[in-house]
Symmetry: C2
């Protein structure tokens, strides 16, 4: 059985969609037990309309506090001991749960992951590693977290952890690892990249293919994209912003005249299919790797489907023994 | 008269399109004189079919060497003294020309700009500052060059130089300046951003509006986007890659079936208009700011039109006394 603590209060569509996602996951997999953390009354109310589910595999963890989306994270984690995020993470910390999942305050999840759940011995930093859609499927962008100014040895650990995750959870055999750089040649880059490059090149545990220029990331030639968190965050957010902007420009174009509206009708179905490929929420949540347990952040805008997908991801994560694998590759 | 040294040999479409662009610019503006640098025979041959032009405002500078697109830049600049890039930059250095323009080897242009043309007294680094298309028009992304790991004082200079360029060449009154960051709050960011933020905030010469998250860059809310060169390069290249990938996915969608092909026909004209807004080449070349003269890099894929646009930009640059303005704002 995989025990997952689920933050019922986090995200734009909480608690309704979160709980709906939990119920769907429970009905899809008999391997999962959900510990639903949040306001008792709100959770009970949602469960009444969420359809049937196996009652023995859903436990309510009533919490009296809630961390808001915009709250300063360090303070929130320290002070709100009875919030759904802190309580849920405690369940991982004390071994009751294998994983914690939230669509809430990213900063609080990152801070709580490091301070409450804690890192695997030997892991210097726990990177946030979302899957980003590419022309060929999806690549793991590691690190997009809050801990900027990483050191070369930390980037090497990201590469190892990312490879293990891609191979065992996403199912990419011998995943190609690249480091984000401003040119393809080994001598290019900033100090961090120049110092990290030989470490990656000489690491026998990964399939390092060299530098990856930002222009080639959307092609999906590389499965694990290693970078420092500031750069990763910029790539992730810029991708989101560019996609949204181009999409709205195309929509505007299609609505421009009677003729284009007819054209749009003819293309619509196929276009939806295409755009679905680039919908980040199709790929589930982003794991915070290297912790004593699994912490996963899903999009703030998560709906039931993303919550279900991510809950099932937690099962694969545990079944594949990711953390044991990470521990053995980090501590050689 | 504005004298521009033009590299006839640089870029994928050289020398034909470069020379065509020069001839068009000469016919459009009587304020410009072009010094065409390159292989004499090739240049003469292209000029024969390029149409009529004012012969007194086009001078040939025959060069026996050429720097290839992929050549290591430092070595190329040092050794190929009779290349079109080195000769053209020398013309700026010795005062014959006001500006140098090339679609060739970016690295060589950046290196040559700093070592041959040289920086304005007081300028610590010469940033490369392309205009990137946004929902509202275009924003200046400064720095996208090759000098990574910048210091806070250098980023402050980029902000000042970028503001002067946007206001006087692009014509944006009181341009809004933002610094690329991973959150909107002042305490967010890496060490470089945290140290630079107060310098920008307290600078009376710029209209600083705070941090800009990467997801908001495509909206065009900020006119001058300040960042360190590694981050700028990643943004620029990733924009290019994402645009290309999404476009090809949309094209594929439109060609998927008979129905979608008909739909595509109805939308095509309007879609072309929309996409033109996001075509970086519409905005001309990227200046290397802070040099004793102007150096401009146009896209490697430049056609005649971009060369013409950029040559006319050189006129605005000189007429607006950009370098005197930079010098007076940097050396306070």
């Amino acid at each position: 059985m995989v025990n997952v603590a689920l933050d019922a209060m986090g995200g734009d569509n909480a608690p309704g969609e979160i709980i709906k996602g939990a119920v769907d996951a429970l009905n899809k997999s008999s391997e999962i037990k959900v510990y639903l953390c949040g306001n008792e009354e709100a959770m009970k109310e949602c469960l009444e309309t969420a359809g049937s589910y196996p009652h023995d595999r859903l436990e309510l963890i009533p919490c009296t506090e809630m961390i808001e989306m915009s709250e300063p994270p360090v303070n929130a984690i320290r002070k709100k001991k009875d919030s759904s995020i802190v309580r849920g993470m405690q369940l991982v910390k004390d071994g009751t749960c294998d994983a914690f999942l939230s669509a809430g305050n990213s900063g609080a999840i990152l801070v709580g992951g490091q301070t409450i759940v804690g890192r695997i011995k030997g892991v210097e930093r726990a990177p946030l590693a979302p899957l980003i859609p590419t022309a060929k499927g999806a690549s793991l962008l590691i690190d997009c977290g809050a801990n900027v100014d990483a050191r070369p040895t930390q980037l090497l650990q990201f590469a190892k952890m990312g490879s293990i995750y891609m191979e065992n959870v996403v199912g990419v055999k011998n995943p190609k690892v690249g480091i984000v750089n401003i040119g393809a040649e080994e001598e290019k880059g900033n100090m961090l990249v120049k110092e990290t490059f030989p470490l990656l090149k000489n690491c026998p545990d990964i399939n390092f293919v060299g530098s990856v220029e930002a222009r080639d990331i959307p092609n999906g030639d590389v499965d694990v994209i290693v970078c420092e968190a500031f750069v990763g965050n910029v790539i992730l957010k810029f991708y989101e912003g560019t996609g949204k902007m181009l999409l709205s420009a195309i929509k505007e174009t299609m609505m421009a005249s009677f003729t284009t509206k007819i054209g749009a009708l003819l293309i619509k179905g196929k276009l939806k299919e295409t755009l679905k490929r680039f919908d980040a929420s199709e790929y589930g949540g982003a794991p915070l790797l290297g912790l004593n347990g699994l912490v996963v952040k899903t999009h703030g805008s998560s709906k039931a489907k993303e919550v279900t997908t991510t809950l099932l991801q937690c099962v694969s994560f545990k079944e594949a023994n990711i953390n044991q694998k990470i521990s053995s590759k980090i501590n050689i």
